[in-house]
Amino acid sequence: MKYLFPDISNQLSNALGSIPFFMPEIYITVLFVLVIVTDLLFGKTSARLCRTIACAGMVVVIFKDLQQFEQILSGGHFLFGSMLLLHRTAIVFKLVIDLLSFILLLYFAWDHRLKAHKKGLSDLYTIVVGSVLGLHLMIMAVNLLSIYLAIEFVSLASYLLVAYRSENAFSTEAGLKYVLFGAASSAVMLYGISLLYGFGGTLDLFSGHMAERLAQVNTISVSFAIVLVLAGIGFKLSFVPVHFWVPDVYEGAATPVTAYLSTLPKIAAFALLVNFVTPFVFYDHWKGFDFRLVLSAIGILTMIAGNFAAVLQSNVKRMLAYSGIGHTGFALMALVTFTPQGLSALTYYLLMYGLANIAALALANYFENAEGITDVRDYKGLGFKYPLASVCFVVVLISLTGLPVSAGFTGKLFVFSAVYSVYQQNHDVWLLALLITGALTTVVSLFYYIKVPLNLFLKRTELIVSENKWSYNLVILSTVIAIALIVFGIFPDLLIKYM
């Protein structure tokens, strides 16, 4: 115990010194407390107020995020004794997360079914705001403990969100599947972490000892540990072969929750994966586990599995779920470059994916609200009944497919060029395979994305006699996103230069 004393003041000053760099997270915590207090004070009627506070708070948080850019001009910062690493990419990721969660917080109440939930939505806001803290931690985590904690944090919040509509059978079923699958994979991951800790003797990924020590241990053993950890991270990323839960859960959850699940944890998990692989990939004497090879193979498999499986779907949410798997694979392609260029392409791509996916689900939600349909085959002829929403849907899907002029295309272009420039240097055949698969699956993705405009516009209307339950908010939201996607498609440097 005594040997710790000299270090205490050091540690404390470190912790205190970290606080200025931790302002956004502190604000989120405060926001969390505010929302929870509002929830408690105002009871059932508090949903609206909670939402207002949460949204306003997110704006402040975004503002705080922006301020952080000045703090890291001189380079990255380790916080709280190397628990977290704050660097430029992390801030960008946090901004993406906060922006998307702001949109999502707005969006939750616009789903008629979720709104009709008898127990009110205020708890939902509490959970979401709490989860944003987890997401922030996930983005910055560079310590096995903080990684595990952040993942569990986000998972826990996600379980709750999925199962939120407790009176709905689908929702609870999805929750059950999600929680069982999630708990199991987190156990697997924890085991992997324990092995890593055992072999490396430290939890700190960036301490320099970790990679060095692991490099000296038998590669098979280390690989096993890493594979287990990757399985846990993959659970959040939903890549093959840990993607099984995705379609069921996405379909079962309330649509805004699906939007949440398909974007935020995934994006944050990418940041986490980047942090996780960095020490190993950039350790010169690293041998054994070839991250590029494994992640490339996973990426290829994921693209193929996600896109091909989506072709068979007719439920819009399920289709988008599979397509989300495909997009994960594509984003992995950017990741395996392990270059700054690849990283900026990755963030750009993920932001555009997030926006487009939220908009797509919002529009699916819109049709669900208006006509009570979830199957794409029921969209027949609705394009003429809801022209604006349908046009937005088309734009959003174009962006998801990656056709010009849309942000999805520029994202794809950046990813391709990042991968290509690496390929040009090392002629790694896996990168080439990734490129080809990426191109090929783009065509495949059209097979299912095209179903939506096909049904909306090309199929003749079977006169649907039903009143229009307009939900303007969703249309406005998706229109704004659609316009943004087009603008960023034409002028990507408005954005990419900050990535």
Partner: protein, 688 residues
């Protein structure tokens, strides 16, 4: 204009341009302004009249005097320039004059002949357009423009054959004519491209003049060598074959002759102008233009084919009952003579025959037109169901149509080649030259003059048969239905004047003052450069005497058969008869084999397109769906795939797979864990 020319030459050129363009102007005026007017006939006639006057002036200025060639840049492609220009030499002015002079009476005749037709104006549009194309064809100085007008001639012929486009036969016929002509066109185009490739120019003068590019190129060691290009000699042959295809198609040589008889579906005046006198001669004209290209062996082939065509067509003509068809086959036969003459080197004689043939064949057709017209009158007056062209229905028209009879008689005699007619001069010339040519070339080659001679006899027979059946005896129609009314006559001056004019031109004085010696024809002197020099010997007397004697005998024989109907009866069912009557089955062969083949081929291509290529795409699609199926199957049944490997637990899988059905979270967990461990194991295995 490229270089300074004397004023008179420039004027000549302008005359030539005017002569060519006037019919076109008539066409445009008729097309745009005279849609329904009867005036259109006279506009066209006027145009062709002026053209023929101009052609005559040009003829006097150029014939045996000089050669005028002017050219101007048309366009540039890459770094080669294309010129357009006019080449006036003996050949072109002869053709220019011939075409316009023949066209003039036909125009006049047509104004009367077509006066009741609804498409009167359209007819003259087409006719003027044809004259324009034909006149342009003969004066063009380069191959590509020659080809262009060559095809336009075919096109206008297409229009005219299908003039009555609501008649199914006419439409069939014009399609056939155009497509067969197209075969020739393709050959010609290929040949032109080969020549262009070889010599880098389309200019006829540069290519074919004495000491021109063709003359200075050689064939050595299997290579065709010109100034800067060497190509395998096969391409020289192909060029010749291509040109021959063009010639064969236009001039109806075997095997591309089948369109011509069918082309008689057009108005008879059209047949007279186009399918007897001018257009079909274009092939021979082309041969004249590119003559230096051919080497002796190729010329011999040409001669053989020409001879065969002449013979074949003559045999077919023997048994035909359709008046125009008989004439059509006779045309083919005579064209065969011309080609044969070209082949044996009797360049001038061939052209001479072209000219004489143009006149008398035109005459014959116009007369036939009157006959048919009158029979049609009878038919319409009496509501008979007959074919007005069938000579079986005719007879004894000698008295009813005296002028027509005389005209036909002159034409017929010229066709047979009896003395005092122009036909005698040219035909004897050909026969004599053929004989001389064949001497010393071996026995096989003697067959050529022999067949030519035999063909001549056949000609005498079918002409006699035609004349007798149409004009002698009694009108068969009246014989069959005695009560019919008949009011027919030669018609007005617009019928008569052309006949008279053409009949005069079919007599000897127009060409030579010596009715028996073709050597003295003025026309031949225009082409002395090419004509084979022949020594005047006994054969020059013997052959005409022999041929004419035979012809007279045969005419008598025919008279005995068809007039007396007593002595000899021809077999109507023999093999030869059927062969002849069915036109040697060539057309049927084409229909049954070639056309079928193409259609089947196209159906196959379409089938291939739908089944194989599209099928391949569909297969890819299926593969796509299948792969998608695999992916989802992989999702669901990943266990199966891997566990099947171990046969020990095959039984277990069934139950297990049943338990782990869709939507079961434990199944997912199992899959995930298994995948993780299997991937790991595989990775380790690959690693080491």
């Amino acid at each position: 204009m490229s270089k300074a020319l004397p004023y008179q030459d420039i004027q000549t050129i302008y005359f030539a341009i005017a002569a060519v363009v006037l019919p076109f102007a008539a066409f445009v005026i008729n097309f745009l302004f005279l849609g329904k007017s009867k005036l259109s006939g006279w506009v066209s006639t006027l145009a062709i009249l002026v053209s023929s006057v101009l052609a005559a002036i040009i003829f006097t200025r150029v014939w045996n005097v000089q050669q005028i060639h002017v050219k101007q840049i048309w366009f540039r492609i890459g770094d080669s320039y294309l010129y357009t220009g006019i080449l006036l030499n003996n050949l072109s002015v002869l053709m220019l004059g011939l075409v316009s002079v023949i066209a003039l009476p036909v125009h006049i005749y047509s104004t009367a002949y077509m006066k009741d037709d609804a498409g009167y104006s359209r007819y003259f549009q087409y006719l003027s357009f044809f004259c324009f194309s034909m006149l342009a064809l003969v004066v063009m100085d380069n191959l590509i423009l020659l080809y262009a007008f060559w095809e336009l001639v075919g096109f206008s012929s297409y229009l005219l054959i299908g003039f009555w486009f609501d008649r199914a036969n006419a439409v069939q016929a014009n399609k056939k004519a155009f497509i067969i002509n197209r075969i020739g066109d393709i050959g010609l185009l290929t040949a032109i491209i080969i020549l262009f490739n070889q010599y880098q120019t389309f200019d006829i003068e540069r290519l074919f003049k004495e000491g021109g590019l063709i003359a200075s190129s050689t064939i050595k060691n299997g290579l065709w060598i010109s100034a800067d290009i060497q190509t395998p000699v096969i391409w020289q042959y192909i060029a010749c074959i291509g040109i021959f295809l063009g010639v064969a198609a236009k001039s109806a040589q075997f095997p591309l002759h089948t369109w011509l008889p069918d082309a008689m579906e057009g108005p008879t005046s059209v047949s007279a102008l186009i399918h007897a006198a001018t257009m079909v001669a274009a092939g021979v004209f082309l041969l004249g233009r590119v003559y230096p290209l051919f080497n002796p062996a190729e010329l011999t082939t040409l001669a053989v084919i020409g001879c065969f065509t002449a013979f074949m067509a003559a045999t077919i003509a023997l048994t035909q009952n359709d008046l125009k068809r008989i004439l059509a086959y006779s045309t083919i036969s005579q064209l065969g003579y011309m080609v044969m003459a070209m082949g044996i080197g009797a360049y001038a004689t061939s052209l001479f025959h072209l000219v004489t043939h143009a006149f008398f064949k035109c005459l014959l057709f116009l007369s036939a037109g009157i006959v048919i017209h009158q029979i049609k009158h009878i038919k319409e007056d009496n509501n008979l169901d007959i074919d007005p062209q069938d000579i079986a229905n005719m007879g004894g028209l000698r008295k009813k149509l005296p002028l027509t009879f005389i005209a036909t008689l002159i034409g017929g005699l010229a066709l047979i080649g009896l003395p005092l007619t122009s036909g005698y001069l040219s035909k004897e010339g050909i026969l004599i030259t053929t004989y001389e040519w064949a001497q010393g070339k071996g026995d096989m080659m003697l067959l050529v003059p022999l067949f030519a001679f035999f063909t001549s006899c056949l000609t005498a027979f079918y002409v006699a048969r035609m004349l007798l059946k149409v004009f002698f005896g009694d009108l068969n129609l009246q014989f069959l239905n005695p009560e019919i009314k008949i009011h027919i006559g030669d018609g007005g001056w617009r019928y008569k004047a052309p006949l008279v004019f053409l009949a005069l031109c079919s007599l000897f004085p127009f060409f030579s003052f010596n009715p028996f010696l073709h050597e003295e024809t003025w026309l031949l002197y225009g082409f002395s450069a090419y004509n084979s020099k022949s020594v005047f010997d006994i054969m020059h007397i013997a052959i005409p005497v022999l041929v004419n004697g035979a012809s007279l005998l045969i005419i008598y024989y025919a008279y005995m058969i068809y007039m007396k109907r007593s002595t000899i009866v021809l077999p109507q069912s023999g093999l030869l008869y059927r062969l002849s009557f069915n036109e040697w089955y060539i057309d049927r062969f084409y229909n049954r084999v070639v056309v079928k083949f193409v259609l089947v081929l196209s159906d196959m291509a379409f089938w291939f397109d739908r089944k194989v290529i599209d099928g391949f795409v569909n297969l890819l699609e299926k593969i796509g769906v299948f792969t998608a199926g695999i992916a989802s199957w992989f999702d669901r049944y990943i266990v199966d795939g891997i566990l099947h490997l171990s046969a020990v637990i095959v039984q277990a899988i069934g139950g297990f797979a049943r338990r782990f059905q869709n939507g079961k979270v434990q199944y997912y967990l199992f899959s995930m864990l298994l995948a993780v461990i299997v991937v790991f194991i595989l990775k380790i295995l690959i690693w080491n």
